[in-house]
Amino acid sequence: MSLAGFEVEVQRSKDDGGVVTEDMTLSMGPQHPSTHGVLRFVIRADGEVMKEAIPDIGYLHRSIEKIAEKVGWHGFLPYTDRVDYVAAMFCNHGWSLASEQLAGIEVPKRGEYCRVIADELCRIHSHLLGVGSMAMDIGAFTPFTHAIREREYLNDLFEELCGARLTFHYMRIGGVGWDLPAGWIDKLSHFLDRFEPLIDEYDRLISFNKIFVERLANVAPITAEEAIDYNLAGPNLRGSGVRYDVRKDEPYSVYPELEFDVPIGTGEKGTVGDCFDRYIVRMREMRESCRILRQCVVQIPDGPVIAKVPRNLKPPAGDVYVRLESARGDMGWYVVSDGTAFPHRCKIRTGSFSAISIVPKISRNLMIADLIAVIASLDLVAPEIDR
């Protein structure tokens, strides 16, 4: 096992009987059944209790930011799907927002509503996977399959909307690529009618199960100050009690016209900011997304869905930083244009990257089983970390 530049100081200690004990260095390697992608942790443990858990990232680095400089403004949109393939609509949205702000394009109202519908559906999509994987990592396999079953409905909805089930490429610079097909809004309403009672059933099956709660409550609590210091975002930040949501605090698109709450963690089963809070914030966010979707279905106006954008887009030179509330938190896009048809530089800030940086700090003196719970509760996805 290569430590590849990690200076893990193995501690030897001698107890009274003259027995020399040494910490164990484990590699929770890139191939690991606890999904979340290819992540590696180098763990220094004394038996079951960890002294240090150092993340080793880079196994899924695909130079996406560099590719932006080669393929141009329109051509980069399919690549943004791959930045976080679990919640691909948000990445599309981020790049489109950045390009529109640079080029001064305004998106028509119906286009904005289509974007919000796609975003919120994708939020449910992503949270279902996050919550399901968390249940699976804790050991309950049935809730995972139930979550995947619900995602199948969403996959079908997305398939009708944009033709793909995972890498949507739905949004374009200036709007969205396709208008809502005939009958799709009805299908969406029926999905919401189906889905909201199922969140309750999911809660009853696993969320408040005593064993599940015992595994998550009081494990790795992150205080609000720590969360802000470490740049956490999204449900991780809100689980620690900080009421910050980009949709409310720096609204974009049509969110000012929509009514929704922002759930925060209140320590109902343990300390504020423990794994259970982050989990329950995600469950509640799914409900809020359903609420937003119902409003969108009613309020969506008629009209064009995309503005006129030249095929050979050349935004004026400048830079812009846009942020939007992705499923994993505050996703930031810093794009620099130099006036040509190709971006000069694109930098993506993702919630998972900050989340993985807090793992060494909060996993001190936790057990290895708890490390799994922590990684799952932070909803890390490797593609977002490595891009």
């Binding site: 164990m24 484990l26 690991h32 059944p33 606890s34 079951e48 249940a135 699976m136 990592d137 804790i138 050991g139 309950a140 396999f141 049935t142 399959t145 139930h146 079953r149 199948e152 409905y153 079908d156 009708e160 097909p181 005939a182 009958g183 799709w184 009805d186 299908k187 029926h190 999905f191 009618d193 189906r194 889905f195 009672p197 199922l198 309750d200 059933e201 099956l205 696993i206 199960n209 064993i211 599940f212 015992e214 595994r215 057990m367 290895i368 089983a369 708890d370 799994i372």
Partner: protein
């Protein structure tokens, strides 16, 4: 068995006895144990599939029934990989120790009134001791794999099994006290065929002892919620990570077959064993019915309920498991022990009869409440189906 050998041969020597023992062993292992273990995997995968809104294996054989045979043959044909840095002899020997620990219990299980390989007068003690042999096997597997994750799994398992022996043993004591003997057939003979004559409802302490024993036996069998030694999400397969092919299958057969042994022990101790209401003149019919009763009870409680639990519950962490054993199960088991003793000394006959009836009625009421809850969930699920417009196989999905 000794009489059988004596009746077949005029002057049986040790060779005859050894041959008979081997023959019997082969019949039991290949005819009873392996099929039970294999078929349990099929049952588990089908039930697990339905609980997860999907079908289980259904291609190999009718309703997928031959899947376990296919898996067994595939595993036998697989390459036998022994890691070069692993401790060779220990690595190879470990699965067999685990299998011995598991198969050895079959020698003392009372299938019918006459069908028991060895009616030891220390039957139940023998069974619990032999199942403890698996600890040695698991530790050997974990250590010899030369893999830190396997080692962790092996040590967790050793701690778990050794700790949970205590509440399991303590829960057996009330039954032994009530029976006055350790022999398996004696325990069954003192119960009757009717639910109210089972040891389960004899007194409230035995009732609680049933649940304590069930939980401890689950923990000893490495089943969820206690499956940390093979926690798939953390340790791939725990102590069995480095094993491939038939050796791996031996470990898992031991685990699934152990479920049946748990069921058999629970049936013997608490659920009245093979007792049936009628006696028949035709001994074959009688024994077949007794075997069926025993098998159904053992399978229902020992296999189906653990499968159900496994696919519902998450797993408990190591320290929580230890605290549950020492802080919850052991004190409760002690209370049961002393309570049963006090009950046996001081309770008058009328109280015993009334208690049996009360316990049977409350168990039935509990089951009714549970069924009511299941029906509630089905009704609730209709909420979600009535609006189902999706037909993924509709050939006209959108205009064009």
């Amino acid at each position: 068995m000794a009489e059988l050998v004596g009746s077949l041969f005029a002057e049986p020597t040790w060779v005859h006895y050894l041959g008979a023992a081997l023959a019997f062993g082969t019949i039991i292992v290949f005819g009873l144990v392996l099929p039970i273990a294999g078929i349990t995997t099929w049952v588990e995968r089908r039930i697990m599939g339905r609980m997860q809104s999907r079908i289980g294996p259904n291609r190999v054989g009718p309703a997928g029934f031959l899947q376990w045979l296919a898996d067994g043959i595939k595993n036998m044909l697989k390459e036998d990989i022994v890691p070069s840095a692993a401790d060779g002899p220990l690595f190879r020997f470990a699965p067999y120790v685990v299998m011995v620990g598991f198969v050895g219990t079959f020698a003392a299980l009372p299938f019918t009134s006459a069908l028991i390989v060895a009616d030891l007068n220390v039957g139940i003690l023998y069974v619990t001791s032999v199942t403890a042999l698996v600890v040695v096997g698991i530790l050997m597997a974990g250590w010899a794999s030369n893999n830190k994750w396997s080692l962790l799994g092996g040590i967790r398992s050793a701690a778990q099994i050794v700790s949970y022996e205590i509440p399991a043993g303590l829960s057996i004591f009330p039954i032994v006290m009530m029976t006055g003997s350790l022999g398996m057939q004696d325990i069954i003979k003192l119960q009757g065929w009717a639910p109210w004559s089972w040891n389960l409802f004899a007194n409230p302490f035995a009732f609680v002892a049933f649940f304590v024993f069930f939980v401890s036996a689950l923990a000893e069998g490495n089943r969820t919620p206690f499956d940390l030694p093979e926690a798939e999400s953390e340790l791939v397969a725990g102590f069995a990570t480095e094993y491939s092919g038939m050796r791996n299958l031996l470990f898992f057969m031991a685990e699934w077959g152990n479920l049946y042994v748990i069921g058999a022990i629970v049936t013997t101790l608490f659920l009245g064993g093979w007792q049936i209401p009628f006696t028949f003149e035709n001994k074959v019919v009688q024994h077949v019915l007794e075997f069926a009763t025993f098998f159904l009870k053992a399978y229902g409680v020992g296999v189906l309920v653990p499968i159900w639990l496994r696919w519902t519950l998450p797993r408990i962490r190591v320290d929580q498991m230890m605290s549950m054993c020492w802080k919850y199960l052991v004190p409760i088991a002690f209370v049961n022990l002393i309570g049963t003793a006090a009950w046996m000394i001081w309770s008058p006959l009328w109280l015993q009869v009334v208690t049996r009836m009360v316990l049977v009625v409350s168990a039935a009421a509990g089951t009714m409440m549970f069924a009511h809850r299941v029906v509630y969930h089905l009704e609730y699920a209709k909420l979600t189906r009535a609006h189902l417009l999706f037909n993924p196989l509709a050939t006209t999905r959108s205009p064009g």
